[in-house]
C-alpha cells in the first residue's frame, strides 16, 4: 500500500495545477472531485495495518469530497448560462507560474521543518510539502477568481491541504474528531452552495464581483 502513496501525492499536485490552469468552472469542479477521491484512497493507504477506522474515514472522504459535494456544486450552478470563469485577477499562465513558485516554496519550507513522527512510523516525506502546495493553491484560487463557485472550489482545496497535513497524525487524532471535521466541511460547503444558488438567482450570474454594495463610503 505504501508504494501507492507517492504517485497519489504527485497526482494531487497535478490536480492542483489543473484547477489553476482551467477556465471552465465545471472542469474545475471535476478536478476537485478527482482530488477528493485521491485523498480518500490516501487516507486508507497511509495507515500501515489496515483498520476499520481508516477504511471508514477513507470511504467517507470519497463519498463526501468526490461524489456529494461536486454533485451539489454542479446543482448550485446548473441554472447559470455562463460556465466559464470570467477574467481572473491573475491570468491562467500567471496562476500556474505562481502555483509552481508555491510548490518550490513548500518543498523548501518542508525540508527545513523538523521531521514529523519518528523511525518506521514516520509518514512519507512528501506528505507535508504536498499538503502545503494544496493549501497555497487553494488560497490562490480563492483570491484570484471572481466566481463564487470557483471560490468554493478554492476553499475546498485549502481544506484538502489541511486534511493532507492531518494524515501525518492519523494515529494521534481520534476518529471522532476526523468525522467531526469532515461533517463540518460538508455542511460548510452545503451552506455555501445554497448561498451560491441565491447569488445566482439574485444577480443572474454567480460572480462574486457583483457583491460590492457593502463598503465604507
Amino acid at each position: 500500500m505504501r508504494a501507492l502513496i507517492e504517485p497519489i501525492l504527485l497526482a494531487v499536485v497535478l490536480t492542483n495545477f489543473a484547477v489553476l490552469g482551467i477556465s471552465r468552472v465545471t472542469a474545475c469542479v471535476r478536478m476537485l472531485a478527482v482530488q477528493g477521491a485521491l485523498l480518500g484512497v490516501l487516507s486508507i493507504a497511509v495507515e500501515r495495518p489496515l483498520s476499520v477506522h481508516s477504511v471508514a474515514l477513507g470511504t467517507g472522504t470519497v463519498i463526501v469530497k468526490a461524489l456529494v459535494l461536486p454533485w451539489f456544486l454542479r446543482w448550485a450552478m446548473r441554472e447559470t448560462s455562463v460556465r466559464r470563469e470570467v477574467e481572473p485577477v491573475i491570468g491562467y499562465m500567471g496562476s500556474l507560474l505562481l502555483g509552481a513558485v508555491a510548490a518550490g516554496l513548500s518543498f523548501g519550507v518542508a525540508n527545513r521543518l523538523p521531521a514529523v513522527g519518528s523511525g518506521q512510523d514516520a509518514p512519507v516525506g512528501l506528505l507535508v510539502p504536498v499538503a502545503l502546495v494544496t493549501l497555497l493553491c487553494g488560497l490562490l484560487v480563492l483570491i484570484t477568481r471572481s466566481k463564487a463557485v470557483t471560490q468554493v472550489v478554492g476553499y475546498l482545496m485549502l481544506e484538502n491541504g489541511v486534511y493532507l497535513f492531518g494524515l501525518t497524525l492519523v494515529e494521534r487524532i481520534s476518529f471522532l474528531v476526523e468525522v467531526g471535521v469532515l461533517l463540518d466541511v460538508f455542511v460548510a460547503v452545503f451552506i455555501m452552495g445554497i448561498v451560491v444558488f441565491h447569488i445566482n438567482r439574485e444577480f443572474d450570474s454567480i460572480s462574486a464581483e457583483n457583491l460590492v454594495e457593502l463598503r465604507e463610503s
Partner: protein, 489 residues
C-alpha cells in the same frame, strides 16, 4: 454529566425546533431550553465540576466564565426574539429557532471543550449555525454579507484547524500526555517541540483572530453586523467573538507555559494596537449605527489580545473584559434593533430624536454608550483600567499611552453618533425616516416589554460588574488569569 447536558440540551432543542411546525411551540422550545441552559450553568457554578467523555469535556474557570456570558446573553436574546418576531413577520421561522439553538449548542461546546480539536469542531459549527440567520432578510445586501462572512471565516477557521494539527505534531508521541487535551498540554508544555509550536501558534492566532475580527482580519465584521438582524449581531458580537477568544486563549496559555513568551507577546500586542488604530479610523465619521458598533467590537477585541499580550494584571483585565464587552455589546445591539424596528433603517440620520419615539430604548442606548466606551461606573471601566495598569506595570508604557489616546478618540467618535441619535432633532434627511415610522403603524412606536427586558437586564449586569464583583466570580477570574500567565490585582 452536567457538562455533557449543557451541550446536548440545546442540540436536542435545535433538532426539535426544526421538527416542530407550529411557530408558537417553537418559541416555547426556545425559551424553555434557554432557561434550562441558564439553570445548568448555575448548577455548574455551585456543584462539583466533573468532566465527561474521558476528559474531553470539562469546564475550567475560563470556560465557565464565557459559558455564563453566553447563557445570559442568549436568554436576553430569546426574550427579545419573542418581541422581535411579533413586530416582524417571522420569516423562515423554523430556521430561526433551530439555528439559534444550534448556535447555543456550538458555543457551549467551545466553552466546555478540553480537547482542542473538539473545540475547533464547535467553533466551525458556530459559523455554520449563524450563517442562515445573517441571511434572514433574503435581500442582496444580506446575501453579500453572508457570502463575505462565510468565505472569510471559513478560511480563517481552516487556518485554525491547521494550527490544531500543528500543535498535535508538536506534541511528542511518548511521555504520557494525551493528544490535544488542554490540561495535558499545559502540564507537559516544556516537552513540546518549539518549532512546530511556533508554527501552530501563528496559524491559531490568524484563524481565531479572523473569527474574533481582529484588524486586519476584520473586514467581514461591519458588513455582517450591519446586515444581520440586530439580535443576531448581538449574539455574534457578544458570544461568538468571545468563544473565538477562548480558542485563542487556550493556545496562548500553552505557548506561555512552554516558555515562548518573547515570541507570542509582541504578536498579541501588535494585533491589539493595529485593531485599536483601525477601529479608531473607522469609528470617526461613521454614519451607520450598526457598523459603528461593529468597529467598536474590533476595538474591544483588540483590547482583549492586548491584555493577554502585556500580561500581569492585563490578563485579569482581559478575562473580565470578555464578560463586560459581551454583555455591553449584546445590549447595545438589541437596543439598536429597537431603533431599527422603529425607523426601518440603521443609519444614524434616520434614527435621530428617538428619545421622543422610544424613550426607554433611547435611555438604554445612552447607558450603553457610556458602558461601551469604558466610563465609570460600568464594568468596562474596571477591565480597561486593569489592562492599562497591566501595560504600565509590565513596562509597556508606550502601549498604555497609545491605548489611552485611542480610547479617548473612540469615545468621542461613538459619543458623537449615539448622542445625536438620542437627543438630536430631525432635520435634513430625517424626513424619509419619519415617513417610515408612520408607515409602520402605531404599534411599533412604543417599546414592548419583551423588547426592553433583555437589554435592561444586561445593562444592570454590566453596571453591577463595575461596582461589585462577587467573590466566586473574582476567584474564577483570578484563576483564569493565572492560567494565562497573569495575576489578579
Amino acid at each position: 454529566m452536567l457538562v455533557l447536558l449543557v451541550v446536548l440540551l440545546p442540540a436536542i432543542g435545535s433538532a426539535l425546533a426544526f421538527a416542530i411546525t407550529r411557530p408558537s411551540a417553537r418559541l416555547v422550545v426556545l425559551s424553555v431550553v434557554s432557561l434550562a441552559h441558564l439553570g445548568i450553568v448555575g448548577a455548574l457554578w455551585v456543584g462539583p465540576r466533573a468532566s465527561a467523555l474521558s476528559g474531553w469535556l470539562a469546564v475550567d474557570s475560563l470556560g465557565l466564565l464565557v459559558l455564563t456570558l453566553v447563557s445570559l446573553l442568549f436568554a436576553a436574546v430569546v426574550a427579545y426574539a419573542i418581541g422581535f418576531l411579533r413586530e416582524e413577520s417571522p420569516r423562515g421561522g423554523r430556521w430561526f429557532a433551530g439555528c439559534l439553538l444550534g448556535f447555543l449548542a456550538a458555543t457551549s461546546l467551545v466553552c466546555a471543550s478540553q480537547h482542542l480539536a473538539l473545540l475547533w469542531v464547535g467553533m466551525e459549527t458556530t459559523t455554520l449555525a449563524i450563517a442562515p440567520l445573517i441571511f434572514h432578510h433574503h435581500d442582496r445586501r444580506s446575501l453579500e454579507a453572508v457570502w463575505k462572512y462565510l468565505v472569510l471565516s471559513s478560511v480563517g477557521i481552516a487556518f485554525a484547524l491547521l494550527g490544531v494539527f500543528l500543535l498535535a505534531t508538536a506534541q511528542p508521541a511518548v511521555g504520557g500526555s494525551r493528544p490535544l487535551i488542554f490540561g495535558d498540554l499545559l502540564s507537559h508544555a516544556r516537552t513540546l517541540d518549539r518549532a512546530w509550536l511556533r508554527a501552530a501558534y501563528v496559524f491559531a492566532l490568524t484563524g481565531f483572530g479572523t473569527k474574533m475580527g481582529l484588524a486586519p482580519l476584520h473586514s467581514w465584521k461591519p458588513d455582517t453586523y450591519g446586515e444581520a438582524p440586530s439580535l443576531v449581531s448581538a449574539l455574534m458580537a457578544g458570544a461568538l467573538t468571545s468563544c473565538a477568544f477562548v480558542g485563542l486563549a487556550r493556545f496562548t496559555a500553552v505557548v506561555f507555559a512552554a516558555g515562548l513568551d518573547e515570541f507570542a507577546r509582541p504578536l498579541l500586542i501588535a494585533f491589539g494596537i493595529v485593531s485599536l488604530v483601525v477601529a479608531t479610523a473607522f469609528v470617526i465619521g461613521q454614519s451607520d449605527v450598526k457598523r459603528l458598533l461593529a468597529y467598536s467590537s474590533v476595538e474591544h477585541m483588540g483590547l482583549l489580545v492586548l491584555g493577554l499580550g502585556v500580561g500581569g494584571v492585563g490578563a485579569f483585565g482581559s478575562v473580565l473584559h470578555v464578560l463586560n464587552n459581551g454583555i455591553a455589546k449584546g445590549m447595545l445591539f438589541l437596543v439598536t434593533g429597537n431603533m431599527v424596528l422603529a425607523t426601518g433603517s440603521s443609519a444614524a440620520a434616520d434614527m435621530r430624536g428617538l428619545l421622543r419615539v422610544r424613550p426607554i430604548s433611547a435611555a438604554l442606548m445612552l447607558v450603553g454608550l457610556f458602558a461601551v466606551t469604558g466610563s465609570p461606573p460600568f464594568g468596562l471601566f474596571v477591565s480597561e483600567f486593569s489592562i492599562v495598569s497591566g501595560a504600565i506595570r509590565e513596562h509597556h508604557v508606550w502601549v498604555a499611552v497609545a491605548l489611552l489616546l485611542l480610547l479617548s478618540i473612540i469615545f468621542a467618535g461613538i459619543g458623537r453618533v449615539l448622542l445625536g441619535v438620542v437627543f438630536g432633532g430631525r432635520e435634513g434627511g430625517g424626513g424619509g425616516g419619519g415617513e417610515r415610522v408612520g408607515a409602520d403603524g402605531g404599534g411599533s412606536r412604543r417599546d414592548s416589554a419583551w423588547l426592553v427586558c433583555g437589554p435592561l437586564a444586561l445593562a444592570a449586569i454590566v453596571l453591577l460588574l463595575g461596582v461589585y464583583i462577587p467573590a466566586p466570580l473574582r476567584a474564577s477570574l483570578a484563576d483564569a488569569a493565572h492560567m494565562l500567565g497573569g495575576s489578579a490585582p
